[in-house]
């Protein structure tokens, strides 16, 4: 039997595959056995109720999508009263994804959830491009990242995963800032800010004008960022972006990720995560690998031989 277990930011998961926040909810239990998943990551919640962005909130792109859902939320009270109890039936660790407008409010929300039994860890969504104007989330810069992560670190002893954004031009520095401020793991990462226009209507396809790109088109970018972060960090990295197959997941593991999150793919194939887990097992069997965790950072990244002539 292949050992699929991995340890990530203070948690041991039965396998490296979990849902990406916002692409997974209770209703999927109608189709998928949640006990097969490495962890259960909830939709980002906020302390207060939020309505979310204007419609349309999604649009298609070639081989992917863009969204500006805008984190509609029933608030933390409903989350603690209804959502957390629902997930107690399953033995996979529950990771609560949170967002807030300020470092202090992030810390308060983190503290509130730390006091709630049944929550195994917190994923800080400091990278949502659809809340502040034009994607200026905390994770765009090192200073704001350090400030919000240290505030949360002081507020909770639960494993704290910090989710970053590819929209920042200094992702590795931001990742190091999160690490120094006490993050237990980095999630790399959230959606890439884009704009898609209906040329006949002369209108953006999303009510919020801009939105976050996800799916296959962002995979090479996110694998690169995972690789760069892995070179610079000691804490584990959770790779996320365009994963639909086991091969996609293995690219992230080889680049340095310890676990992966599957998002958009579940919308198209509700059993996507199950297929990725099965595919990981088959790959390890074929390649004679005893434990999937040994793939982490397994990339042979020596450049090719120099090209020996000018044209």
């Amino acid at each position: 039997m292949i050992d699929l277990s991995v340890t990530v930011g203070g948690l041991t998961l039965k396998n490296p595959v979990m849902p990406a926040s916002g692409t997974f909810a209770e209703e999927l239990a109608l189709l998928l056995d949640f006990d097969r998943l490495g962890a259960l990551v909830t939709k980002t919640i906020t302390a207060d109720k939020r309505s979310g962005n204007p419609l349309p909130r999604v649009c298609e792109l070639p081989g992917g999508m863009m969204n500006a859902i805008g984190i509609p939320s029933k608030g933390v009270d409903d989350f603690i009263e209804h959502t957390v109890p629902f997930y107690q039936r399953f033995d996979s660790p529950l990771i609560a994804s949170i967002s807030a407008p300020s470092a202090t409010q992030f810390a308060a929300l983190a503290a509130r959830l730390s006091a709630t039994p049944g929550i195994a860890g917190i994923e800080a969504n400091i990278s949502c491009p659809n809340i502040e104007a034009h994607g200026q989330s905390f994770a765009m810069h090192t200073a704001s990242t350090a400030q919000v992560v240290s505030a949360m670190r002081a507020a909770t002893s639960l494993p704290l995963w910090v989710k970053l954004t590819p929209n920042s031009g200094e992702v590795v520095n931001v990742a190091k800032a999160a690490e120094s401020a006490g993050a237990d793991a980095i999630v790399m990462g959230n959606t890439l800010l884009g704009l898609s226009i209906d040329v006949h209507a002369r209108r953006p396809r999303l009510g919020n004008v801009m939105g976050g790109i996800s799916g296959a088109s962002i995979k090479p970018l996110m694998v690169r960022l995972t690789y760069q972060c892995a070179q610079a960090l000691d804490i584990p990295i959770i790779g996320c972006g365009g994963i639909a197959t086991a091969e996609d997941a293995i690219e992230y593991l080889l680049a340095g990720a310890s676990a992966v999150q599957v998002g958009t793919a579940t919308f198209i194939h509700p059993h996507a995560m199950q297929h990725v887990i099965q595919g990981l097992e088959a790959f390890c069997e074929q390649e004679g690998i005893a434990a999937v965790r040994t793939l982490t950072g397994g990339l042979n990244d020596a450049p090719g031989a120099l090209f020996g002539a000018t044209p």
């Binding site: 209770e26 109608l30 939709k43 070639p62 081989g63």
Partner: protein
């Protein structure tokens, strides 16, 4: 895999979120009757494949609604024929779970991808027919964009990934005597199975067909409804009768003559607003099947939300799980 099937969640009683309007279990007794539009629904007995009954919490009360669990499976296309210039009628061999679909429920279809013009999201399609005995489901769809074009190119023998039945369908009260259905354009596909179910329930029907002139579906729909014993009135744009006030006049006459128990419609905002007003005015029940852009169809992505009203306050509901059929009283005109 021919059929993903639901996990044998023997361990846990899975409680999910589900909206429920009436306490009545959504059961319909349908006897078999062939119509041009294909077979009506069979009785919706909850399949006893050793699965825990899935109880879904309604946002307001904790009523247990036994409903078929959706199935993420691959169906085999038996027929996929043009009904006229715009519409195709697809019949598939599908799983037991899929064939439990109720009128007003829908499926999310994985359209085949062709080159760069490939559709990415699944496309939502109302159940046009579902027959557990023949193991078949049917769709009647208008070919408009990338996804429906891809569907239209499928041939008998091809397979199609279908996710469903999804959402909450129409609710018929057993003590109802007479209902009115106002159908327009592609809404006919969603409402035809409702008429079948009402007929099976021995509920009398008046159907108002409102369509542009020689609308493709007009004549065949008229025949189908008439075969179910419905009184069919047509309101055509070209002869000016299908203007909203024309339909209002017809409805007022029906309300006076037949005191219908409930009004039903699908899709069009203006018709929905008219029915809501008349239903409130005369204390009649009413339901509307709505449409909104969808991605997951399961209630996870939050892209298909609309503003409804409840006890006078605005509330956000997901068309895919809390609908697509809503009570007229909740709809914001």
């Amino acid at each position: 895999m021919m059929h993903e099937g639901v996990p044998t969640a023997n361990k846990a009683l899975i409680r999910c979120l589900y909206h429920s309007e009436s306490p009545l279990m959504s059961k319909y007794l349908n006897n078999r009757q062939h119509g041009f539009w294909g077979t009506p629904f069979k009785s919706a007995t909850n399949s006893n494949r050793g699965r825990e009954m899935l109880t879904l919490r309604s946002p307001r009360d904790d009523v247990r609604i036994a409903t078929a669990t959706p199935d993420d499976g691959t169906a085999l296309i038996l027929r996929n024929e043009w009904v006229n210039g715009d519409y195709k009628h697809m019949v598939l061999k599908a799983s037991r779970a899929a064939c439990q679909a109720q009128p007003g429920q829908f499926f999310n279809l994985l359209c085949p991808a062709e080159g760069s013009m490939a559709p990415f999201f699944r496309r939502p399609m109302s159940t046009y027919g579902a027959d557990p005995h023949r193991g078949e489901v049917e769709f009647l769809y208008k070919v408009t964009g990338k996804g429906t074009l891809a569907l239209s190119q499928l041939q008998a023998g091809d397979s199609l990934d279908i996710l469903g039945p999804l959402g909450k369908g129409f609710r018929l009260q057993p003590n109802w005597q007479h209902i009115v259905i106002v159908a327009r354009g592609v809404g006919l596909a969603t409402l035809a199975p409702l008429a079948e179910a009402a007929h099976a329930h021995h509920i009398a029907m008046t159907v108002i067909l409102s369509a542009r002139s020689k609308h493709a579906l007009l004549i065949p729909s008229q025949q189908r409804f008439e075969r179910l014993g419905a009184r069919v009135l047509t309101a055509r744009d070209d002869d000016g009768t299908s203007q909203l006030d024309g339909i209002e006049r017809m409805l007022r006459e029906i309300i006076v003559q037949h005191a219908p128990d409930a009004l039903f419609t699908c899709g069009s905002k203006r018709l929905t607003a008219l029915l809501k007003r008349l239903a409130a005015e005369h204390g009649i029940a009413g339901q509307v099947a709505m449409e909104e852009q969808m991605v997951c169809g399961l209630g996870m992505c939050q892209c298909c939300t609309k503003v409804f009203e409840q006890d006078g306050k605005p509330i956000s509901r997901r068309v895919c799980v809390e609908g697509p059929v809503f009570d007229l009283s909740e709809v914001v005109a």
